[in-house]
C-alpha cells in the first residue's frame, strides 16, 4: 500500500472525487467510443457479468429489442434464438467505461453521452434517456420502442452533438449538479431541475443549428417532456468521476455499485477491477394501479453509480419532492436516511451543498469498512421494472445494497494485503 493508513488512502480517493472536473462534450454512436461493439453481435448490459439464461425478464426483453433495432433479427422469436444460442456476446457496461440504466442494454448504433473527466483525462459513456412508459431499458421492445430509438439515433443524438460542438468546451457538469441539488434533485429519482438546466443550456445552441424545423421542434419537445433526461448524464458523470478516483488502487472506498437483476456487484478502490457480488434485493416502493410487490423485478441497473458518487438515495434529503419513497414517511425520514448514510461515508462533498440539510455537502466516498462495521447498507432510489419482459415500469422505491458484497470485498482486500 502506498499510504500510511487506510484512512489516508481513502482520503486520497475522495480527494480525487471532489477534485474531478466532468464535462459533457459529445453524443456519438456507442461503437465510435467502445471498440468492443464493432466486433460482431455484442451487447452491453448493466451490472456485474451475467449470462442470457440468468437474465431477468426486463433485461432479456431489452436484448430482444436491441437485436431488432440493430437489424440482427426481424422478429422476437428470431432474436431470442440468437441470444439464447450464444451468437450474441455480452459485456458489462462497466468493463468498457460505460454505464446503463435498468437493463443497461447498449448496442453499437445507440447514441451515448460522452462525459470527459478533465482532471484524469478519462471518459465515460451512457445511452440517452428514452422517457417513460414503453421503453427499452425496462424491457419493452415493440415497434414504438424501436422507432423511438431510431429517432434518437438519427435526430436527437446528432442534434445534441452538434449543439455541444458549438459550446466552447462542453457543459460543466459539476456546475449543473451543484445548481440542481439546491433545486430539489437527487439525480436518481428526481432529475427535473437538472433536466431543465440542461434544456436551458442547450436550447440557445439548438436554435442556431441548420436543421429541419419539425425535427428541431421534436427535439425541444422531447427534452421538455423528459423529466429524467439528465439521469443518464448524471450516471455518465458518476462513472467518469469514480473511474478517475479509482486510479488510486488503495483503500476501501466503494468505486462502483451496480445490479444485473440477479447479483449486486461492488468494487472497492483497493481491489481494482474485481467485482464482489451477492444476490440482489427487490426494491420496495409504490406501485402503479394493477401492480404490486409481487410483480417487481429484482434490483437492476447501473444507475446506483449515482449513489456511489454520493447522490441518489444517499442525498435523499436534497429532494423533498421524492422523500415519500422512503417508507411512508416525510421530511424527517428523508433527513434520517441521509444522516444515516453519513455514518458509512468518508466525508461530505462541499461541491454539492444541500440547503435542506443546513448546507451540508452530499455524502462522499462510501467506506466498505463502515458498512460492515455498522451493518448500515447504502440506500438506493430506483425505478421498479415489471419482472416480465416488455411490461415496463410498474413503480418506484428504494432498495439496499446487500452487506455481503462489502464483507467479501474487505476479506479479499485483507488477503491481498497479507493481513490474514
Amino acid at each position: 500500500m502506498n499510504y500510511k493508513s487506510m484512512d489516508e488512502a481513502n482520503k486520497a480517493v475522495v480527494d480525487k472525487i471532489t477534485g474531478s472536473a466532468p464535462f459533457l462534450v459529445n453524443v456519438v454512436p456507442a461503437k465510435e467510443k467502445i471498440k468492443e461493439l464493432n466486433d460482431g453481435k455484442v451487447l452491453l448490459h448493466a451490472g456485474p457479468p451475467i449470462v442470457w439464461n440468468d437474465m431477468t425478464g426486463p433485461m432479456q426483453g431489452s436484448c430482444i429489442g436491441a437485436s431488432i433495432y440493430e437489424g440482427w433479427a426481424s422478429t422476437e422469436e428470431e432474436a431470442e434464438k440468437q441470444l439464447a444460442s450464444g451468437e450474441v456476446k455480452f459485456i458489462p457496461c462497466h468493463h468498457v467505461n460505460a454505464v446503463g440504466p435498468m437493463g443497461g442494454i447498449t448496442s453499437a448504433n445507440m447514441p451515448v453521452f460522452v462525459v470527459e473527466n478533465r482532471t484524469d483525462g478519462n471518459e465515460a459513456y451512457c445511452i440517452m434517456n428514452e422517457g417513460i412508459g414503453k421503453v427499452l431499458r425496462f424491457g419493452a421492445n415493440s415497434q414504438e420502442v424501436i422507432d423511438r430509438l431510431k429517432w434518437m439515433q438519427d435526430i436527437l443524438g446528432p442534434t445534441i452533438a452538434k449543439a455541444l460542438a458549438l459550446t466552447e468546451d462542453g457543459l460543466n457538469l459539476n456546475v449543473i449538479i451543484a445548481k440542481a441539488i439546491t433545486m430539489g434533485d437527487e439525480f436518481h429519482q428526481r432529475n427535473i431541475a437538472s433536466s431543465l438546466i440542461f434544456l436551458k443550456e442547450i436550447s440557445p445552441y439548438i436554435v442556431q443549428l441548420d436543421m429541419d424545423d419539425n425535427d428541431r421542434k421534436d427535439v425541444i419537445q422531447f427534452l421538455a417532456d423528459t423529466d429524467q433526461f439528465f439521469l443518464n448524464i448524471a450516471m455518465a458523470t458518476g462513472k467518469a468521476v469514480m473511474d478517475g478516483a479509482r486510479t488510486i488502487q488503495d483503500g476501501t472506498v466503494v468505486t462502483a455499485m451496480c445490479r444485473n437483476g440477479k447479483d449486486f456487484g461492488i468494487r472497492i478502490s483497493g481491489m481494482g477491477d474485481e467485482w464482489f457480488t451477492a444476490p440482489v434485493n427487490t426494491p420496495q416502493g409504490l406501485f402503479f394501479t394493477g401492480y404490486s410487490q409481487d410483480d417487481a423485478n429484482p434490483d437492476i441497473g447501473d444507475s446506483a453509480i449515482t449513489e456511489t458518487f454520493g447522490v441518489g438515495g444517499m442525498a435523499m434529503i436534497a429532494a423533498p419532492g421524492v422523500t415519500r419513497f422512503v417508507g411512508a414517511g416525510g421530511f424527517d425520514d428523508a433527513l434520517a436516511t441521509s444522516n444515516e448514510m453519513t455514518e458509512i461515508c468518508v466525508s461530505q462533498n462541499s461541491n454539492f451543498t444541500i440547503p435542506t440539510w443546513d448546507f451540508q455537502g452530499a455524502c462522499l466516498g462510501i467506506d466498505a469498512r463502515k458498512v460492515v462495521e455498522t451493518g448500515i447498507e447504502p440506500v438506493i432510489n430506483t425505478g421498479i421494472a415489471h419482472k416480465k419482459a416488455g411490461m415496463g415500469q410498474v413503480g418506484a422505491g428504494t432498495v439496499r445494497a446487500p452487506k455481503e458484497c462489502f464483507e467479501k470485498a474487505l476479506e479479499a482486500y485483507a488477503v491481498k494485503l497479507g493481513l490474514i
Partner: protein
C-alpha cells in the same frame, strides 16, 4: 363500470398521486382506481390497467385524471370527497425526537463535539472496548454495564487516571452530575453536598433524604461496587473526592461504600483527613464509635444524610441520629410469628437492613451474601432480589414486580412471618408505579394471613423525592391507604419492623476526637477535564439503552443517542478483519 373525473389544470406530482391512489383503493365498493396526471405516457398506463376512457383521452397533461371502476355510481362523490380531503391535508405529522441518533463513534462526536461524558450500557462483553474508545476520545465514562472483568476495570481506571479522566463504574447504577440524573437516579435538588458512592441505592437513599430534608446535592459520583476493593484500590473514589474538594459549590463531601479492603480504607481515610472540607463517610457494616477531625463516620445511610445536612447548615453534629421510638401501636402477633422477611429491590438497602437486624440479634454487623440472601438466620431473611441470582433473563425488580410478588406471597404463607419489609425505589429508570404493581400481592398475602388468624404487618420505605417522575407523596399515600406502615427512611423502616418482633438496636453515642493527620502529602489537584466535569453541565453521548435519554431530555441536557450494535453484527471474523484494515 368506469367513471372518469377530470380535474382541469390541477397538478400534483406523481408520488403524491400514487399515495393518493393507494389510499383511495382501500375504500370499499371500488373494483379499481387510478389517479394520475393525464400525460400521454400515463394514458398508456391507464390503458394497461383497463381504465382507459374517452374523457381521459380528451384530458391534457396538466389535468388530473381519476378513473374509478365501480358498480356503485354513488361512490363517486365519496371518492371525490376523499380525494379533496387528501389533497388538502398532505402534511405528514411526524413527532420530532429533538435529539440526534447516531450509529458510530465518529458521528457521535461530530454531532456533539463538546461532549464530555460517555454513558455506556452495552452488554458486558463489549463494554470495556467501548469504554476504551470513549477514553481515547477524551470522554469521562459512566459505565452502567456490568459483567466487566476486574482486569479490564483496573486497566480502564488506570488509563483514565493517567489521562485525567474519570471512569464511573462498571456496574454503576446511579449518578447525578450537576442535577442531571444518570441511569437509575432521582430528581434531587441541587445543593452544596457532594457524594461519591460505590453503591447505587446507597446514593439514592442518601441523596433523596438530603432532598427531603431541604438541602441539595452538587454531584453524586458513582464508582462501581468494586472500586474500594483489591486490586482497584479506590482509583475513582479518590479522584472523585479530589474533584469535589476542588469544586467550590460543594461544601460537604459524603462518601458511601461497603467496608473497603483494609489498606484501601486506610489510604482513603488519610486522603479524607487531608481535605479542607468536612466529610461524612459511611462504610456499611462498620459501626463507628467516634467522629475523627473533619471526618464524620455514620452507621446508616439516613444518619449519613442527616450529618451532611447539619454540617451544611452549620448546626452542631449530634452524637447519634439513628435511635428513636419506633414502636407500633396494637401490633398484635400470633404465637410463632417472629420472623422478618425483607424483600428488597435495592442491594444496598437490603444490606443496610441485614446489618441492623444482625446487630439487633447480636450477630455483629458483617454482611454476607448467599444466593442473594444478605441475611438468613433462624427464619430471619433479607433477600436482595436485584442479585444476579434473580435477574438472569429477567428485568431488575425495580422495573418488574413479578419476582417480588411471588416472594411476598410466599412470605405471607410462612406462618412464622411477622413483618414483610419492602423498599420502593423511585426515580428515572424505575417502574412507573411499583406501589400499584405490588399492592395486589400485598393485599392477597395480608388477607390470606388473616384467614389463618394472623396479622401480617407490612413495613415499607419509599426512596424518592417529590420531583421524581413517580410522585413520592402519591406513592406514600397509596401505600398508607392500603394499610402499609410507611417510614421516612430505610433505617426507620427496619427498626420499626424490629420493634414489632420486640427487637432493637443499641446505638453508639459518637464523640468527636481530633483527627490524625498523616505526614504523607496528598496531591489534591485535579486535571482540567475533571475540574470541568464538576464545574459544568454534563454533555452526554448515551451509548446503548435509549431509556436513559429520558432524564437527559427532561433536564435539558445536551446529548446524542448512540444506537450501539456489536461491530459487524457480532461476526467475529469480520470484526477481526476490520481491526486489521486500519
Amino acid at each position: 363500470m368506469l367513471h372518469t373525473i377530470i380535474k382541469k389544470n390541477s397538478y400534483q406530482d406523481s408520488i403524491n398521486l400514487m399515495l393518493l391512489t393507494n389510499s383511495i383503493a382501500t375504500m370499499e365498493g371500488l373494483n379499481k382506481v387510478q389517479i394520475m396526471m393525464a400525460t400521454p405516457a400515463n394514458k398508456d398506463i391507464f390503458k394497461d390497467a383497463g381504465l382507459h376512457t374517452s374523457e381521459l383521452e380528451a384530458a391534457e397533461s396538466n389535468d388530473m385524471a381519476i378513473v374509478v371502476d365501480t358498480d356503485n355510481a354513488d361512490m363517486i362523490d365519496t371518492v371525490l370527497e376523499k380525494v379533496e380531503q387528501y389533497l388538502n391535508d398532505q402534511s405528514i405529522s411526524n413527532k420530532k425526537q429533538g435529539f440526534e441518533t447516531v450509529r458510530t463513534w465518529d458521528k457521535a462526536v461530530d454531532a456533539l463535539p463538546n461532549a464530555n461524558v460517555a454513558m455506556i450500557s452495552v452488554p458486558g462483553e463489549y463494554a470495556a472496548d467501548e469504554a476504551d474508545k470513549a477514553l481515547d476520545r477524551g470522554l469521562h465514562v459512566f459505565m452502567f454495564s456490568d459483567n466487566v472483568s476486574v482486569e479490564d476495570e483496573l486497566r480502564l481506571k488506570q488509563k483514565a487516571h493517567d489521562k485525567g479522566l474519570l471512569v464511573m463504574g462498571p456496574d454503576c447504577g446511579t449518578g447525578i452530575l450537576d442535577g442531571v440524573p444518570l441511569a437509575f437516579a432521582n430528581v434531587v435538588n441541587k445543593g452544596r453536598i457532594g457524594l461519591v458512592g460505590a453503591s447505587g441505592t446507597g446514593i439514592q437513599e442518601v441523596s433523596t433524604i438530603i432532598d427531603r430534608l431541604g438541602e441539595g446535592v452538587s454531584h453524586a459520583i458513582g464508582t462501581g461496587g468494586r472500586d474500594l476493593k483489591d486490586p482497584i484500590g479506590a482509583i475513582t473514589m479518590m479522584d472523585g473526592i479530589r474533584a469535589l474538594e476542588n469544586h467550590s459549590a460543594t461544601e460537604i463531601i459524603t462518601i458511601i461504600s461497603k467496608p473497603p479492603a483494609e489498606h484501601v480504607r486506610n489510604e482513603v481515610m488519610e486522603l479524607l483527613q487531608s481535605l479542607t472540607k468536612p466529610v461524612v463517610a459511611v462504610f456499611l457494616g462498620e459501626k463507628p464509635e467516634q467522629y475523627e477531625g473533619n471526618v464524620y463516620q455514620a452507621y446508616t445511610l439516613a444518619e449519613t444524610a442527616h450529618i451532611a445536612v447539619d454540617l451544611a447548615r452549620g448546626n452542631e453534629v449530634k452524637a447519634d441520629y439513628n435511635s428513636g421510638d419506633f414502636s407500633v401501636e396494637n401490633a398484635s402477633l400470633k404465637e410463632g410469628q417472629k420472623t422478618l422477611k425483607g424483600l428488597y429491590s435495592g442491594g444496598t438497602l437490603a444490606s443496610e437492613a441485614a446489618v441492623l437486624i444482625s446487630d439487633a440479634l447480636g450477630l455483629g454487623t458483617h454482611i454476607k451474601n448467599e444466593e442473594g440472601y444478605v441475611l438468613k438466620h433462624e427464619g430471619q431473611e433479607i433477600v436482595d432480589l436485584g442479585d444476579d441470582k434473580y435477574t438472569q433473563g429477567k428485568p431488575h425488580p425495580m422495573i418488574d414486580p413479578e419476582t417480588r410478588s411471588k416472594f411476598i406471597e410466599q412470605a405471607g404463607d410462612d406462618e412464622t412471618t411477622a413483618v414483610i419489609l419492602l423498599d420502593f425505589v423511585l426515580g428515572y429508570g424505575s417502574h412507573d408505579d411499583m406501589a400499584s404493581a405490588l399492592l395486589p400481592s400485598i393485599n392477597k398475602a395480608v388477607a390470606k394471613a388473616k384467614e389463618g388468624g394472623r396479622t401480617l404487618h407490612v413495613v415499607a420505605t419509599v426512596c424518592g423525592t417529590k420531583n421524581d417522575p413517580q410522585s413520592y407523596d402519591n406513592h406514600v399515600k397509596q401505600l398508607k391507604e392500603a394499610g402499609v406502615i410507611v417510614k421516612e427512611t430505610n433505617n426507620e423502616a427496619v427498626r420499626t419492623a424490629l420493634s414489632i418482633v420486640g427487637l432493637q438496636v443499641e446505638d453508639n453515642q459518637k464523640k468527636h476526637v481530633e483527627g490524625t493527620k498523616s505526614d504523607k502529602k496528598f496531591d489534591l489537584s485535579v486535571s482540567e477535564d475533571i475540574a470541568s466535569l464538576v464545574s459544568e453541565r454534563p454533555r452526554v453521548i448515551n451509548v446503548g439503552l435509549k431509556g436513559f435519554t429520558g432524564a437527559l431530555a427532561d433536564t435539558g441536557t445536551q446529548f446524542v443517542q448512540y444506537d450501539w450494535r456489536p461491530v459487524a453484527g457480532g461476526n467475529a471474523r469480520m470484526a477481526k478483519i476490520l481491526s486489521l484494515l486500519k
